[in-house]
Amino acid sequence: MFKYDLKKRFPAPYVEVKVINPALSISRIHRGKIDTGADLTVIPMFIVEELSLPHRGTEITRGFRYDEMPHTVPSFFVDIELASYSFKNVRVIGTVRPDILIGRNILNKVKLILNGKNSEFRIIDPLIRTS
């Protein structure tokens, strides 16, 4: 069971995320926000640089912007660990932002129960437990 971040104006589900460069086995732990509106997982660019992640493709992305114009951005592959579950070779994109957005390319692999009323949530999937 995890708690929402109540410091936010609109409390949001945050969880600790371990981002791993699978080729170098180096990692970084950082805050991640559950974002069911994001198709892909997003990591801050400083993590991309810190983990020396090599470019492994591009994605055409479209965010909530007034122009709604798509943008092509580089993508990377990382291993992600969160809530004691592990996700291998996950495609992510890097942007300049303070925290990680955990998108549906990860969320669709788990059972996610959001209890906004009690400001708590659960991530459940025994099949891919790390330990």
Binding site: R9, F10, N21, P22, A23, L24, D35, T36, G37, A38, D39, L40, V42, S52, P54, H55, R56, G57, T58, E59, I60, T61, R62, G63, F64, D67, M69, P70, H71, T72, V73, P74, F77, K88, N89, V90, R91, I93, L101, G103
Partner: protein
Amino acid sequence: MTVLPGETILRLVKEGKLGIKPFYEDGIQPASYDARLGTEILVSPVGEERGEAKDLRMEKDKCYEIKTGQFVSVMTEEWFTFPNDICGKFGLRSEYTRKGLLAFGGIQIDPGWNGRLVISLFNIGPEPIPIKLGDEMFTIEFCRLESLTQNPYRGRYQNQPYFPAEDVNFILRARTVSLAEIKPIGEEISRLKNELALLKAEISRVQPEVKALAIQRLPFQFRVDMEKFNEIKIELLKNGKYRGKFVAIYRGELIGPEESEERLNMVINEKYGNVPAYISKVAEEEEIAEFSSPELV
């Protein structure tokens, strides 16, 4: 109570029983007196123009145009002194009402009243209406009471030479959008729409350049591999072995196909290590990844 005919109004003025100063004899009508527009007016804000007090003597042709939806307070040129057995009512001459000017009239002028009359005007017509200093705009009706009142008017507006301070403050501090601004708001929306359309067109125009710039920032070898993939993509699509599968280009070499990009990434890591490589699905169109959650900062 009887309405006084013009002859009686004239006689009472001449006898000094009814005060109208200055008095214009040609203002006498069959059963009323036509009062004239005085020098001072208070105009409500319109668009960028603030509310202000104006002196018509200082305006071009001593004239002011009341804009559609605008609220204006005016005073009569004449100073009226009502005896204790005469009351009055004021209104706007039909010449103005036909254009859409509305006067908040009909309010009784009490016996004993002494002062100039303040009249609020509102243009509900489709066009601006000019008013000019000295225009015979108002009609004043005089009525004789059954008997002298023992309680003539002694209110706070007695002897007013100018607009009451609260009226001036109200106009000068007015900040609300008046009806007069409805048209400018429509024009502003239209202008912004045009501006937005221009911006969108500009964004579309520079989009390929921005994309090209973004691509230029990618590592050189990765860019070369990406271009290589785009070159051979049509050929790969024709080949059932690759179509719908994932491939990678590393230093110009085609790797794959694999059923999943995860597997392909693992293969590259195992075979080449932590190197850039272009991994993509062999598909007709690239899917757009949506990030639809707006965040408050």
